[in-house]
Amino acid sequence: MTRLEYTKKVLEHFKNPRNVGEMEDADAIGTVGNPVCGDMMELSIKVEGDKIEDIKFRTFGCASAIATTSMLTELVKGMDLKDAENIKWADVVKGLEGLPPVKVHCSLLAVEALKAALYEYYRKKGINRTDLKPRDDEGDEHHGDSEKACGPLI
């Protein structure tokens, strides 16, 4: 039943999140999620040349939502835009040394936030990167009214 429990790494990121805050001079901001669903993330990036020079986040959500965003910012800070595009949720989970299955959606959301910021960054530059465009429907998966959605974890 460790599936309910967070790794030390998650708790550490939760307690001392890296790169928290707003960014006055952000080149782009990506926002995903919905407070209705219990988590919402905002990622601000500053790009210099082809690199993510600086990154900041704000998250409303559970410990894993906060930790995954924090982890993500740590992973992509200083990274080439190309490489950042290719970050996968699994990289975030790996960086955190694992997530309870029920919390994996948080890592998906963090990656979505990054893509949203990158989409916005390119859009401002006049490049339409539809492949990075955020889906409208995320968050819905854990928000049904059915008995199933209310069922046990395993």
């Binding site: 928290v20 219990g38 986040f57 704000r58 409303f60």
Partner: protein, 385 residues
């Protein structure tokens, strides 16, 4: 680090003197109470004493107490057992959004099996509305199930008024007493419900034991079939140590409730007042008509699990009404029914006490909470002061 436990809704410690009473029944008086030889006697008598003690807590006759394995089983038995005995045309069950998930899930299964179900909504204070109850409870209803109080937000329910309606329409009345029994007196002679659910752990007795009060003459069939124990309503060799502990806990509660409940009220009120000092914080549930042990507060712009974990890191145990905790990702139906928006439900915390809690506990929570809320708000995109 001193630990402050404010999650008594999730579990309560078993009192030491209760454990002491249980012990001889594991290793010494271990016989089966149905045995006619010497070793059957002590367990048989101890079980009867326990039955009398539990009955005495709610003013019932001992023969009206059926021992089960806990509140969930009692609720399953209460809601489903009377089905074969219901009158013609009576094919609907009425529950409320104040009910525990065990009531919701059992009634959903009843609905799946072909009967119908109505769920009463709550007003902003967490009470069912008598107007809706009047509209909803009709001649086709075989049972109405209402908790004494919402276990989440603590709001007391208008049981007397509902009872009148229920009787008028010839239905059965089940009251879930799980959360209130240790803190507010209840007497089945004063409020003549047909079925009442009780739980040992919620009286500071051992886990794995419960009871269902079944008023004499109520038609009901057992769910768990077998040797015909508990008047045929609950088969299976009796959990004697558990039952003995349950009885001891009921006795303790009966003797001491009038001492500790007022004290819990004071601590609760202090805690509520202190926490509402935090900006953008609100009380969930009724300010006065609520369980002595329950404070349920929501903090705008932040999420429950995060607060819960930061409190935990500071030695404080609480529960949250959040989507992100427990076994499912749904926000509390009770909170939603009260009109809270999802994000408000997500930002709610339950502080629930037992007689071991002290005013110091409340003070410590009040001293810690502001920085936790602030820390989380500082990273919340919803918070733009």
């Amino acid at each position: 680090m001193k630990r402050i436990y404010l999650d008594s809704n999730s579990a309560m410690p078993t009192r030491r003197e209760v454990v002491e009473e249980m012990l001889p029944f594991f290793t010494e008086h271990y016989g089966n109470p149905s045995s006619i030889h010497e070793l059957g006697k002590k367990p048989r008598r101890a079980m009867e004493v326990a039955r009398e003690r539990v009955a005495s807590l709610i003013g019932s006759d001992p023969s009206e107490i059926i021992f089960t394995s806990g509140a969930t089983e009692s609720i399953n038995l209460a809601l489903r057992g009377p089905i074969p005995f219901r009158g013609p045309g009576k094919d609907r069950i009425v529950i409320s959004q104040a009910d525990h998930q065990s009531v919701r899930a059992t009634s959903a299964a009843i609905e799946n099996s072909g009967l119908r179900r109505s769920v009463l909504e709550l007003d902003g204070s967490g009470r069912i509305s008598m107007e809706e109850a009047e509209r909803t409870i009709g001649e086709d209803v075989y049972m109405v199930s209402i908790p004494f109080a919402s276990h989440e937000v603590g709001t007391l329910q208008p049981l007397g008024e509902v009872l009148e309606l229920v009787k008028e329409h010839g239905a059965l009345f089940h009251i879930d007493l799980t959360t209130s029994a240790f803190q507010i007196p209840f007497d089945v002679k004063e409020l003549d419900a047909d079925l009442v659910t009780l739980s040992s752990v919620d009286l500071m007795g051992p886990k794995g034991v419960g009871a269902l009060f079944v008023r004499k003459g109520t038609g009901i069939s057992g769910l768990i079939k077998g040797g015909g124990h508990e008047r045929g309503l609950r088969s299976g060799s009796e959990n004697i140590p558990g039952i003995v502990g349950f009885g001891a806990a009921a006795e303790y509660v009966k003797q001491n409730m009038s001492i500790y409940s007022p004290r819990l009220c004071s601590i609760r009120d202090h805690l509520i007042k202190g926490l509402l000092g935090i900006p953008d914080s609100h009380l969930n549930g009724h300010p006065k008509s609520r369980l002595p042990n329950n404070a349920n507060i929501r903090f705008d712009y932040v999420e429950g699990e995060s607060m819960l974990l930061l409190l935990d890191m500071n030695g404080i145990s609480v529960s949250s009404g959040s989507a992100c905790t427990q076994k499912n990702l749904e926000p509390s139906r009770t909170l939603l029914s009260m009109g809270l928006r999802h994000e408000e439900a997500h930002g709610s915390l339950q502080f629930t006490m037992n007689p071991d809690n002290t005013m110091e506990d409340a003070k410590y929570v009040i001293s810690i909470m502001p920085e936790i809320v602030e820390q989380l708000r500082d990273m919340s995109p919803l918070y733009n002061p």
